[in-house]
């Protein structure tokens, strides 16, 4: 477990539900700031105490982009639990963020969700 990056969440020993998140941004752009605040809100609502978040500023550490295969900014990477998930964009669509993070109990198949977002959205509303 890495402890070098700044963490906004509380570290909990329960590994089953523990979620390790990294948010990649590039400088203090409005979009990055929006993504960070959206993420914080989502985490507070759905992941209280069960996550660890690193925010990586690629403008400062460009070499870190390669490891997680970052192209789009902002990108939220869920390293744990596996499989790895990537959520790109400013995280303004909360439903899709939740789907991407497998936080919708009824929707386990995240991969399918990403391929057919419109259907998923309808399902989420229902």
């Amino acid at each position: 477990m890495k402890k070098r990056a700044k963490s906004n969440g509380k570290v909990v020993a329960d590994n089953d539900n523990f979620m390790q998140l990294r948010l990649y941004v590039a400088g203090q752009t409005p979009r990055s700031l929006a993504a960070l605040s959206n993420l914080k809100r989502i985490c507070a609502e759905h992941l209280e105490g069960k996550y660890k978040l690193e925010v990586i500023d690629l403008a400062k550490n460009p070499q870190l982009a390669q490891g997680d295969q970052i192209l789009a900014i902002p990108t939220l990477v869920r390293n744990l639990p596996v499989p790895i998930r990537k959520i790109i964009g400013d995280l303004s669509n909360v439903d899709r963020v939740l789907v991407g993070l497998d936080l919708r109990g009824t929707e386990q198949d995240g991969a399918k969700a990403s391929q057919r977002p419109s259907e998923r959205r309808l399902g989420a509303k229902a």
């Binding site: 990649y24 590039a26 979009r31 929006a34 993504a35 959206n38 690629l58 403008a59 460009p62 070499q63 982009a65 390669q66 295969q69 970052i70 192209l71 789009a72 900014i73 902002p74 990108t75 499989p83 790895i84 998930r85 990537k86 959520i87 790109i88 964009g89 400013d90 995280l91 303004s92 669509n93 899709r96 963020v97 789907v99 991407g100 995240g110 991969a111 969700a113 990403s114 391929q115 977002p117």
Partner: protein
């Protein structure tokens, strides 16, 4: 852009020198590509390399980068979207490029961009700043001058928001241009477009199209510069090859006819043929075509030429499409030409392969490579006709033209043989190359009196006085001799007819000689007879002379005696006392008479 134009206006004096102000170019180092692109890819700009799968896009891009590092000291960055750096490394390792070393030396930076749509969930606004950051990081790490993005279009499968993607691509190309990075982008060929996603919309400086075609079971790769803004370039489709040394765009041909010509002459290896060609043989660096039917002595002629060149210590390349190396060597021994010794001495490089072994381009490439490594002064291709079996006539023609250009540009004498099939017009070649050659020698068979004899004549030889004679071509153990055929009473006699005629002439000459001899002998005899006669007369005369002299002596003696007697008589008659005494001797004298 306006700034750039202004700079141009200021820099360019209006005296035509602006023609020299070419677009700055980054040489690729790829054999042939720099020639047809007049110096390389546009420096500081983006080039699209497009084509179907497996046509060599990635290879071209990689070679551009690697040669950039190795030959021009321009570090490069490769962003691979489809293959991992390890795979890339392996791919080019087969071409002898040690990528790992260049990466370790910080001359080359490899980054693999992995786009997996199933892992990505799009939620709201985003851009591709991450790609820019990685690119910037890569460029900064090695100080790159060259960038290659292979295959950028993979992004289209990873992101569903095409609007964002296109905006970002536009930004990317601008970004690359601003940093003066010479970039190669590979892209799959689209249905009706050059690239599947229309990247050429954004990049319009240079577009190279690669193609991979199979015809008659022989595959050929082709390259065409579809567009190259602001510069002249070869617009044709050029065949290219990927082999153990990377890409070679073929042929390396000059777009203009600008060869240096030599006034130096080289022997044909056949003194009699030299004689027919103004006494000195071919021009060095000229093109020679020997055409003839099967068995008319083309290979022997070529071998003689090679033999003579090697004797002068010059290097030759002999490419055969019909006979194996050893077979030619053995056959040539029968006419007193030892090719093996030249091979052993390294003066002759003799290669033979079947024309159907490769497509025409590979033939050309192999010949080119041999020329590059052997650096010969003379090249023999025997025969060019066979190439047609492996390819199309038109292609063979263009290959030979290019080969000729290539050789001429290097002042290498090219010696082609051409097989004429029976019944075909002799004064024409299958491939139609005859008009391009400088010297054209025709070997042909003449049938007369139930035999076939080889004849040779010089059909043309540019720039030199040459014989108009048809000579008989005789192969002897000491090599080839060209014998002037018997020409008389409106008839050209060759072979045994010529021999018969010559024998007849010889006999007549012999007869005449004998006649003269005979007459001379007669004269001699007459002279000796006369001499003998003179001698015997002389002898006779001498004998008579002696006799006469003797009798004269006798006469003189008896006269003297008489005188003495008269004196005695007088004495006796005058003395009384001695009368008796004096009578006695007188009587005695009279008795003795």
């Amino acid at each position: 852009m306006p700034k750039r134009q202004k700079a141009l206006e200021l820099d360019v004096p209006l005296n035509g020198e602006h023609l020299n102000l070419q677009l700055p170019k980054a040489p690729t180092g790829i054999v042939g590509l720099d020639e047809i692109s007049n110096g390389g890819l546009p420096r500081g700009r983006t080039t699209i390399v497009c084509g179907g799968p497996g046509c060599g896009k990635t290879m071209l891009a990689m070679e551009f980068l690697i040669r950039g590092v190795q030959e021009f000291n321009e570090p490069g960055v490769l962003i691979a979207f489809e293959e991992t750096p390890q795979e890339m490394e392996r791919n080019v390792a087969s071409l002898g490029f040690a990528v790992r070393k260049l990466v370790d030396q910080k001359k080359l930076y490899l980054d693999f961009v992995y786009v997996e749509p199933s892992e990505i969930q799009e939620t709201g606004d985003y851009d591709l700043e991450g790609l820019f950051i990685r690119l910037q990081h890569a460029v900064d790490t090695v100080g790159a001058k060259r960038v290659c993005l292979d295959t950028l279009e993979a992004l289209f499968s990873g992101f569903s928001n095409e609007g964002v993607l296109r905006a970002e691509l536009r930004r990317l190309f601008r970004w690359l241009k601003e940093r003066n990075l010479t970039t190669v982008i590979t892209a799959e060929k689209g249905e009706n477009m050059l690239t599947r996603h229309g990247l050429e919309e954004y990049v319009s400086d240079c577009v190279i199209l690669l193609d991979h075609r199979v015809r008659d079971q022989i595959s050929t790769r082709r390259l065409r510069i579809v567009k190259y803004r602001g510069t002249s370039h070869g617009a044709d489709e050029y065949p290219f090859l990927i082999d153990s040394q990377g890409i070679s765009v073929l042929p390396v041909t000059s777009l203009e006819l600008r060869h240096n010509v030599s006034n130096e002459r080289v022997s044909t290896g056949i003194p009699d043929l030299d004689e027919m060609l103004g006494g000195e043989g071919f021009f060095r660096g000229s093109s020679v075509l020997i055409s003839g039917t099967a068995g008319s002595g083309k290979t022997t002629m070529a071998s003689s030429f090679v033999n003579a060149a090697c004797q002068r210590g010059e290097r030759c390349l002999y490419v055969g499409f019909e006979e194996s190396v050893e077979q030619v060597a053995r056959n040539m021994e029968s006419v007193g030409i030892d090719l093996k010794q030249w091979r052993d001495q390294g003066l002759l490089t003799h290669e033979a392969w079947r024309p159907s072994q490769y497509g025409i381009e590979l033939h050309l490439l192999r010949i080119h490579k041999l020329i590059e490594s052997v650096k010969p002064q003379h090249v023999v291709i025997d025969p060019i006709t066979n190439l047609v079996t492996g390819s199309q006539q038109k292609e063979v023609y263009s290959m030979l033209v290019r080969l000729m250009d290539y050789l001429k540009a290097r002042s290498i004498t090219c010696f082609f043989t051409n097989l004429n099939t029976d019944g075909e017009k002799a004064e024409q070649t299958d491939i139609g190359i005859s008009s391009l050659t400088d010297t054209w020698i025709l070997c042909r068979d003449m049938e007369l009196n139930g035999e076939r004899n080889r004849c040779v004549y010089v059909l043309k030889s540019r720039g030199m006085a040459h014989s108009n004679q048809i000579r008989e071509f005789v192969m002897t153990k000491e090599g080839i001799r060209l014998i002037a055929p018997y020409i008389g009473s409106g008839m050209v006699l060759t072979g045994s007819s010529r021999l018969a005629q010559e024998a007849r002439e010889k006999a007549e000459a012999l007869l005449r000689a004998r006649e003269i001899e005979k007459k001379q002998e007669a004269l001699e005899r007459k002279r000796s007879a006369l001499d003998a006669q003179i001698k015997s007369l002389n002898l006779e005369f001498a004998a008579e002379e002696l006799e006469l002299e003797n009798s004269i002596k006798q006469e003189l003696l008896s006269e003297k005696q008489l005188e003495l007697e008269r004196v005695e008589m007088n004495r006796v008659r005058l003395g009384d006392s001695s009368l008796g005494n004096s009578l006695e001797p007188a009587r005695a004298l009279g008795d003795s008479k």
